[in-house]
């Protein structure tokens, strides 16, 4: 079992209990997680090939061009896991640019669908390198909105170190679990704002033997997932 395997399973668990909704992962480890969830405990999930074809167990089962994706967004029957160049304690996320928007230090992708996603349906985040420059007191350009700005639900933030959620009275970020081998102090040191830390922080669930076999032999036999968190 590697750290990447733990991350895949933590991502998969984000979609647990979602039923027949469109799972939209960004990044390899979230994609492996969504496929693993669909193959095991969340068979109702819908997944695309990244373009317009819906896949179930790697076989085509339907058609969902972008215009239909926007209808799913508006209907709220979707749970996206996006990346975050910056994220704050209420889950406001930035993928647009770093620095002053009018003339950024670094131009990134743009807000993409993040504003619409976060006010319409469940959203989670995947951060492959948990660091203070990502977990910031204030993001430079609010792309996905957080709980203090009207988000429907920021479910979890999965990182290479831990799983975070928003199960606090003001729906600010809380440490839910640390991955095996990671200390609570390590997570706080890598986070640029104070986290709510319960007195007893559990360890992130370890993958089952069946999950490890699916990940290693079927979903990612080449082990590309290891590169995403290096």
């Amino acid at each position: 079992m590697t750290r990447a395997d733990v991350c895949v399973v933590a991502c998969a668990d984000a979609w647990r209990g979602d039923g027949a909704v469109l799972a939209s992962p960004t990044g390899l480890i979230p994609r492996l997680g969504a496929r693993l969830a669909q193959l095991t405990f969340a068979p109702g999930l819908l997944l695309t090939d990244g373009e317009a074809t819906l896949l179930r167990d790697d076989e085509a089962e339907g058609w969902l061009p972008y215009r239909a994706v926007f209808a799913v967004v508006a209907a709220g029957t979707r749970h996206v896991m996006m990346g975050a160049s910056q994220i704050d304690r209420f889950g406001n996320q930035n993928i647009s640019c770093i620095g002053d928007w009018s003339r950024p230090k670094r131009q990134l992708l743009g807000v993409r669908g993040a504003p619409g996603n976060t006010v319409n349906h469940a959203t989670s985040y995947w951060v492959p390198r948990h660091a203070p420059r990502v977990f910031v007191p204030e993001v430079d350009m609010v792309s996905g909105v957080g709980h203090d700005r009207g988000a429907i639900e920021i479910r979890v933030v999965v990182t290479n170190l831990a799983v975070l959620d928003f199960a606090t009275p003001d729906r600010s970020m809380r440490l839910r679990s640390v991955h095996p081998g990671v200390s609570v102090a390590e997570v706080q040191a890598a986070t640029g704002f104070p986290l709510t830390i319960p007195s007893d922080v559990p360890s992130t669930r370890r993958p089952t033997a069946e999950e490890l076999e699916l990940i290693g032999e079927r979903l990612d036999p080449e082990g590309l997932r290891e590169k995403e968190i290096r």
Binding site: K105, Q107, L109, P115
Partner: protein
């Protein structure tokens, strides 16, 4: 028409919508023709890819209206990023769904359409002219009033078209090419193959006929005209060429491929 004829109908300062999505089915031959003609001060409305990058590299762009600019397999568009960091272009940044809604409003001759996307986000801060509206019904919901994105011209690339402007896509996604045409005053379609109407009807199911001649003012046959973006099933994205575009020095790339006409571009690409 030829690509040159299309560009001859465009003017400096126009607002031009470009179909496709990211680095997929972009009317690149028409974009290259605009670059060669040296149009200036364009406002480009697009789900942005290398169309934006090339037009910026040639100094044609004053403003980009978009939700993202990306090469898909390469996350960031180098010319767009550089221009933003140098303050060389203006940007109107919307959520992707807002862009769709703005085209839909223009296509339906509505001044705006309400949408949830944008609420609470910095899209409202960087677009101070955006307004919200309250539902006049009992729910009283606050929504963004996304203004119509009316275009002077639309450029789209489809797999097959007939000489009148009926056209179909053969790949998996229509993107928003029909809406770009419906939102524009002048509409130009480039196609992989110009065929007879009968052959167009026979080349796929009726649902793939995205454009009819009421939505189109000019048709140009531009084989491999979406290169280096994808135009499936005719061809995939040219990943190695896209890498060269993204990593080679601009002067070197330009003189190797772009200084001549479209025919010499296609020859230089084929000779690599």
């Amino acid at each position: 028409m030829t690509a040159g004829d299309v560009v001859g109908e465009l003017r400096d300062g126009m607002t031009i919508g470009i179909g496709g999505w990211g680095s997929r089915r972009k009317p690149m031959a028409l974009v290259r023709a605009i670059c060669r003609a040296g149009l200036r001060d364009l406002t480009v409305v697009t789900y942005g890819g290398p169309d934006v990058g090339l037009l910026i590299a040639y100094g044609c762009v004053r403003r980009v209206v978009t939700g993202f600019v990306s090469l898909d397999s390469i996350a960031l568009e180098p010319h767009f990023c550089r221009a933003r960091q140098e303050g060389a272009i203006e940007l109107t940044e919307y959520d992707e769904g807002m862009l769709y809604w703005g085209l839909l409003a223009a296509a339906n001759r509505l001044p705006f359409l309400p949408i949830r996307a944008g609420l609470g986000s910095d899209v409202m801060r960087v677009n101070p002219s955006l307004r919200t509206i309250r539902s006049p019904y009992a729910d009283d919901t606050e929504l963004v009033a996304m203004p119509a994105l009316t275009l002077d011209a639309a450029l789209v690339h489809l797999n097959r078209a007939d000489p009148s402007g009926n056209a179909r896509y053969l790949g998996p996604d229509p993107y928003f090419d029909d809406l770009f045409c419906l939102a524009a005053k002048r509409r130009y379609v480039s196609c992989e193959r110009l065929v007879s109407t009968a052959e167009l009807m026979d080349s796929g199911p009726p649902q793939g006929l995205l454009l009819n001649r009421m939505m189109v003012d000019g048709v140009v046959e531009t084989p491999r005209g979406a290169h280096f973006t994808s135009c499936v099933p005719d061809y995939d994205r040219d990943e190695s060429f896209q890498r060269e575009y993204a990593t080679a020095g601009w002067d070197q790339f330009r003189s190797a491929y772009l200084d001549g006409d479209e025919e010499s571009y296609q020859k230089a690409v084929a000779a690599r």
